[in-house]
Amino acid sequence: MSWLSGFNGPQTLGSGLGFWSSFAAAVVLLAAAPWLVESYLVNNLAYFLLWTFMALGLSVIWGHAGILSFGQTAFFGLAGYSYGVISINLGDANGLTWVAFSGALLLTALFAALVAYFMFYGGVGNVFVGIVTLSITLVMETFMAQTAGPEWAIGSARLNGFNGMSNMPPLTMPGIVEGGLVLEGNALYWFVLALAVSVYLGLRRLVNSRFGNVLVAIRENPDRAEMLGYDVRLYQLAAFTLGGALAGVSGVLYTTWGSYITPSSMGLTAAALPIIWTAAGGRKDITTTFVATVFLLWLSQTLAVKGAQYALVLMGVILLLVVLLAPDGLVLLASRALARTAAELRRRRT
């Protein structure tokens, strides 16, 4: 298993043969999903998976670096709108949608780095970072919501105010088939899955690398980390930018998935969701965050049949209970309970 050693380390749970074989089984099962379940469910799975990037980014920022960011949706929305504006202007010929994809991510990363520069190099206290990030996303929502008039257009892309932008072209792989392979349906699902698996593995390497260990050192004690010679601000800026860019990946994928993006994706309720997923999963580990995000999205969607409010009230209750009773998150709580029951059963048998 030595070739896996880079993916294991002190900052991630799960390292044994059992963990990695279940991981492989899960990936194979997910990849085979289009042959196993109906296309409606595949579309849903793509939807659940596309949000995990934002949650994983928050896990790095909040769980590993200890930075309280309440405004990940600002980067989500910026990336979604940027993709819309660029792709509507450029069109979808010759893989130009990938220019929109990377342009949106670049813009988002730059914006995140700029915000991070002002916050961390300005010496903003950690509690204030939460307020500033939340204010940014709320102001962006207000801003986009009032862009209804025809004067609010960038090139040929109308911003459309409260109703949001729609009809942007989907991502298209040039050259594979005649006119390019359009990423929708199963193709989009496989793309999102492949990206999610790569980002998950990449983050496992990153958080267990020297960089990741320094982030945790800063979380545990910023002053000590600084005394040891690390430039705390630079590490915080890097972590924040990475987290912002990952929220941007979710934003672009969301926009291509449904071919729309609205200002409310940056609102107060939307901003609470990544916090809920990450906290419920146990923010200090990316695997638990990933699992909890997909599970809670599935749960929300199942409950939303009765009305989105009911699902959101439940999400709020889950967050409250997790904070009060299970600060390590639900996934760890559940797996510990399972382990205890298994041990109990074994004991009884003997």
């Binding site: 916050m119 509690v127 307020i131 309720t269 989105a308 959101l312 999400m315 709020g316 904070v323």
Partner: protein, 288 residues
């Protein structure tokens, strides 16, 4: 020229009142306890709903407003007892918990009372000056805001409760050793902050539509004022609101509402870069 000047003064007073009133409950809780209450907007919403519902049931408006503040305060004390108290040693978790409460309150209200409520008429009517129309009620709000600031100052400086509260912020262990019941101080402070938020909702209830999500209309201004006000929140609130209201009304007058809002946010980012401890931190540094 005269009309522009009067119009600007009116706009300034209006922004000032909104900034002070929307931030004051948040400022008391943050300044005294270090807890950022993300359910602040929902206490405002609660005050507004109680006011509108009881005024429509026949209660005189001033009494309905007092009731709105009282109900919000009572709920605040209850939440402090059930949730916040358990999280004093985990500051970040207490912030996240108040966000959970915010989501539950907003969405719960949507389920219970539906998306909107028939509002109240703005009282006192309006008058004309130099060709512009002004609302008496909007002129009253800045006066109320200043009165609240003055009473808070008296409360925290001149009363035994204020002395105990300030002792509790400065050195909780020492205050406890000297016989101050710090738990009760925290509980009352949180209740006071919630009641002030409720009062804000009550005061603005006649001027806006009462919807479950109305809290978010206040929350950016509240945050912005608290951040610019800085470490000593009660000292910083008035100068922060003055500076911000000036910038906002200047930009709103020349470029419209939205640019005013964006200007607020940019001011915050610049202030935070130059004075990380806000206006009050800067003022206190001068005095040391």
């Amino acid at each position: 020229m005269l009309a522009t000047g009067i119009g600007f003064a009116y706009q300034f007073a209006d922004s000032f009142a909104f900034l002070i009133l929307s931030s004051i409950g948040l400022a008391v809780i943050f300044g005294m306890m270090g807890v950022i209450n993300l359910a602040h907007g929902e206490f405002i919403m609660c005050g507004a709903y109680v006011t509108v519902l009881s005024a429509r049931a026949g209660l005189p408006l001033p009494l309905a407003m007092v009731l709105g503040a009282a109900v919000a305060g009572a709920i605040g004390i209850l939440i402090e007892f059930l949730v916040i108290r358990r999280l004093y040693s985990r500051l970040f978790d207490s912030i996240v918990a108040t966000w959970a409460i915010s989501v539950i309150a907003t969405q719960g209200m949507l389920i219970v009372v539906g998306p909107s409520l028939e509002g109240l008429k703005t009282p006192f009517g309006s008058f004309e000056l130099a060709g512009l129309t002004f609302s008496w009620y909007r002129i009253l709000l800045p006066v109320v805001a200043l009165a609240i600031l003055a009473s808070l100052y008296l409360l925290f400086v001149k009363t035994p409760f204020g002395v105990r509260a300030r002792a509790t912020i400065q050195k909780p262990e020492m205050a406890r050793a000297l016989g101050v019941n710090t738990d009760r101080v925290y509980s009352l402070t949180f209740g006071l902050g919630a009641a002030l938020a409720g009062l804000t909702g009550a005061l603005y209830a006649p001027t806006m539509t009462t919807v479950p999500t109305m809290g978010s209309a206040f929350i950016v201004q509240a945050f912005v004022t608290v951040v610019v006000g800085g470490t000593d929140v009660l000292l910083g609130a008035a100068p922060a609101a003055t500076v911000l209201a000036f910038i906002q009304s200047l930009l709103t007058a020349s470029n419209g509402q939205l640019i005013g809002q964006v200007g607020l946010l940019l001011t915050v980012i610049v202030v935070v870069r130059l004075m990380p401890k806000g206006i009050s931190g800067w003022m206190l540094k001068g005095s040391e």
